[in-house]
């Protein structure tokens, strides 16, 4: 190895560092350290002239290692590595001493702060002498993208990518794409109908030459790494031949067996052979084997008899196939809170207590009542209570705010007024109307004569204590603005239930190595600067699987995820980070300890050579294997034992 010639640059960062640390003294001290050729201090090292200073020294003085004592490497390590690269030096011949965040800002001013800064610089100088050039390699990627979830977010992401003429596979586990948005009646704050804006999009996605829709399918296995995933998909049998079915739905008409409709949130029945809703894409029914007489008892086959196209095939079996995928976008959406969990609200006990999703179906012209808002006995309600925050903003259930409920509650008020002229009570904790046009919508609804009661509902009961309460549901609520309890008799109660993570979010998180935040939703890479990426490279998230969101936000995030995927597709290759581990095969004893410890299954055992080997593209560079290797055969590049030890001795000397 060539003799290290180190340049040290101590940054003032204006007064951020220089106000507490005697930078001149630190720079002077650095000059005395071994291998240091030049040591300077500069007001803003990250500025253009500051960067030029380093470049010049590399050229003029022939320095081959650089130490910058300034801010956190999390902020400017990449900046300075770029300087080295531009000056023709390997970017890994660099070390930063974080004398701002971890020194000048962290301690009470005093002489010991300068002393600490000196030690940090010494540690960096010690360490950088051991640095070796590391190779940044690039590998080609598969251009196809997999989108998981066919709701509005998934469709949007798929459509954005497909428009660049790159293939997208859209996997949906239900028989049709559309997601929750297809269940909604109107959308706030514009009140345009959800179906009118969604169904054309569904058709467009289905017809797109670069999108292949895989409904009734699930991802079962994934292997590979960013840009080079291999995904195994299981296609459940529909028992209807997709090539033959013409979508006449005579089978659905003739089927004598029924079950509760999932699409209608259980408000009505569907047949055992069914499409979830009339505008389903693809418009091909499936047989629900749990309710079909043929699968239960071996008789019936009515659908088969009536199908002119001969499309019914009871022998169909599941299909498993594999796809080569470059990027994966997860848009699996949300589940709704189980209203049974709060028994005092009477859901399931009183037939006129509805969840918000049930009410959406009740309002919808394609719903069980063709859009007429009626009670269980068919009457129109005279008074309705809308209960906010059912399961949200409640430490007993979910602490977070579900973000959409205030707005759909306002929408319900409007629809109720419009369709029934009922007296409407909103029982809210706080009104949160934060989006574009939302506050204006709130204002408009207030002027429509809605009663707003600020307080959390304690109980819904049918125990009347006064004449006017007889035959009604009584909502007990504390009006926190007036400071006393109210009993509000109403005909109908709507519970605005929380949005929560999918029941199987944990399995999905395991499958894709995703993190989950405290609320259970998938964890983004950075809450502000990177809300679409995850900690797993090449796996992006969009829509409600990352947290409760309204439609505009879901669409925006989906488009952002698509842009991120397209950036990689456009480059056609990925750079593999050089901070990986490598195995010295002459030292490896073949104990396989590292094989089991690697969180990414990047280490495999070569049975012929009887040594472990690392797939450097899979390796994410955590160094766990290097720490555990009993033979010290594994080197954690950029964090070798020698480098870290040199740093330790530097800070302690």
């Amino acid at each position: 190895m060539e003799e290290p010639r180190i340049g040290v640059y101590v940054c003032h960062c204006g007064t951020n560092i220089a106000g507490t640390v005697d930078v001149e003294e630190v720079a002077k001290y650095a000059e005395t350290l071994p291998h240091v050729v030049v040591s300077r201090h500069y007001p803003y090292t990250c500025s253009d002239p500051g960067q030029e200073l380093i470049k010049n020294d590399i050229k003029e003085l022939g320095i081959n290692r650089v130490v910058v004592a300034s801010c956190s490497p999390r902020l400017h390590e990449k900046t300075f590595q770029g300087v080295l690269r531009e000056a023709g030096l390997n970017p890994y011949l660099f070390q930063m001493a974080n004398i701002r965040e971890h020194c000048s800002w962290l301690h009470e001013p005093g002489p010991e702060v300068t002393e600490k800064a000196k030690r940090m610089v010494r540690a960096a100088v010690n360490r950088v002498s051991h640095h070796i050039p590391l190779e940044i390699r690039s590998v080609p990627i598969f251009p196809a993208t997999l989108v998981i979830g066919g709701g509005i977010a998934g469709m949007q992401a798929a459509w954005e990518i497909a428009n660049s003429n790159h293939m997208v596979y859209l996997v949906e586990r239900e028989p049709s794409i559309g997601g929750h948005m297809a269940q909604f009646d109107k959308t706030f704050p514009t009140l345009d109908c959800a179906a009118c804006i969604l169904t054309p999009k569904m058709t467009e996605v289905a017809r797109h030459p670069f999108i292949r829709i895989l409904t009734y399918s699930e991802v079962v296995e994934i292997s590979g790494y960013v840009g080079n995933f291999r995904v195994k998909i299981r296609r459940k049998p529909r028992y209807v031949d997709e090539g033959k079915c013409i979508g006449c739905l005579i089978c659905q008409e003739k089927c004598p067996w029924t079950a509760l409709s999932e699409f209608d949130a259980g408000t009505r029945k569907r047949k055992a052979i069914y499409t979830p809703f009339a505008q389903a894409v693809p418009n091909i029914p499936v047989i629900d084997t749990e309710h079909c007489a043929y699968f239960l008892k071996g008789t019936c086959r009515a659908c088969e008899k009536f199908c002119d196209a001969n499309a019914i095939n009871f022998e169909q079996s599941e299909l498993i196939f594999e796809l080569d995928i470059g990027n994966i976008i997860i848009a699996t959406g949300f589940d709704t809170f189980d209203a049974f969990s709060i028994p005092q609200y009477g859901y399931g006990r009183y037939p006129n207590v509805f969840t918000s999703l049930e009410f959406e179906r009740l309002c919808s012209p394609t719903g069980p009542t063709e859009g007429h808002i009626v009670l269980a006995d068919g009457r129109q309600p005279d008074s309705v209570a809308i209960v906010h925050c059912v399961g949200s903003r409640d430490k007993n259930y979910h602490e977070y705010c579900s973000r959409v409920c205030c707005m759909h509650a306002l929408k319900y008020s409007h629809l109720l007024k419009e369709k029934t002229n009922a007296e409407v009570y909103q029982m809210y904790i706080d009104m949160r109307c934060f989006g574009k046009g939302y506050e204006e919508f709130y204002d408009r609804i207030q002027s429509e004569g809605i009663n707003f009661i600020r307080g959390k509902v304690a109980k819904v009961s049918d125990e009347a204590i006064a004449e006017e309460e007889k035959g009604k549901l009584i909502v007990l609520v504390e009006d926190t603005l007036l400071g006393h309890m109210l009993r509000v008799p109403v005909d109908m109660v709507i519970l605005c239930i929380a949005l929560e993570p999918r029941k199987d979010a944990n399995e999905l998180a395991r499958l894709f190595h995703l993190g989950r935040s405290a609320d259970g939703f998938f964890l983004e890479r950075h809450p502000k600067l990177d809300p679409v990426a995850t900690m797993s490279e090449g796996i992006l998230i969009a829509g409600c699987c990352q947290g409760p969101k309204d439609i505009p936000d879901s669409v925006a995030q989906a488009s952002a995820a698509a842009a991120r995927a397209l950036a990689m597709i456009a480059r056609g290759k990925i750079e593999v980070p050089a901070i990986t581990a490598s195995i010295d095969e002459t030292k490896c004893s073949g104990c396989k300890i590292c094989n089991l410890l690697c969180p990414y299954n990047a280490i495999f055992f070569d049975d012929e050579a009887k040594v472990s080997r690392i797939n450097e593209v899979l390796c994410q560079g955590c160094g766990v294997c290097a720490a555990a290797c009993p033979s010290s055969a594994i080197t954690h590049n950029y964090f070798t034992a020698e480098e870290i030890t040199a740093e330790i001795e530097g800070v302690l000397a």
């Binding site: 962290l106 301690h107 540690a123 964890l523 990414y600 034992a641 330790i648």
Partner: protein
């Protein structure tokens, strides 16, 4: 002059180092006895590095990573926990108080927890006095 312990803090890049950055950015104050070494994952910290720190004169060692379940590398932090647990009786056997080794989970948003940890750990080590391996006692 009162005894000022030297404490090495191995902090993982993604959570604890970021938490310490946040402490600095928020101008929270802690004693300057802590000397931070960045590692990619707390699971990188092994017995060798801990002994190197003790041999180089550290009076205390802090190992800090992401909270369980939040590890950037899925489960690397659990290795750190096992190592620290396994290391303590060993330290005791060689005459080093096991309290000189501390493991804490510090998230990227927990600047305050970082500062509180450093304060209390510095105090603990101060009360223990210099480590028997610390041959170079002196200022910071």
């Amino acid at each position: 002059m009162s005894f000022e312990p030297k404490i090495v803090g191995f902090l993982c890049n993604w959570c604890s180092y970021a938490g310490a950055d946040l402490a600095g950015v928020s101008r929270l104050r802690c004693p300057p006895n802590i000397r931070i070494i960045r590692v990619m994952c707390s699971g990188r910290v092994n017995e060798l590095l801990m002994f190197k720190a003790l041999a180089a004169g550290a009076d205390g060692i802090l190992v800090s990573g992401c909270h369980p379940g939040d590890c950037h590398y899925i489960k690397g932090n659990l290795n750190a926990r096992r190592r620290v647990v396994g290391m303590k009786p060993f330290l005791e056997a060689i005459g080093i108080e096991p309290e000189r080794l501390r493991l804490e989970w510090i998230g990227a948003s927990e600047g305050l927890k970082f500062v509180e940890t450093v304060k209390s750990f510095t105090q603990t080590v101060k009360e223990l006095g210099p480590s028997r391996f610390n041959r170079r006692q002196g200022g910071y």
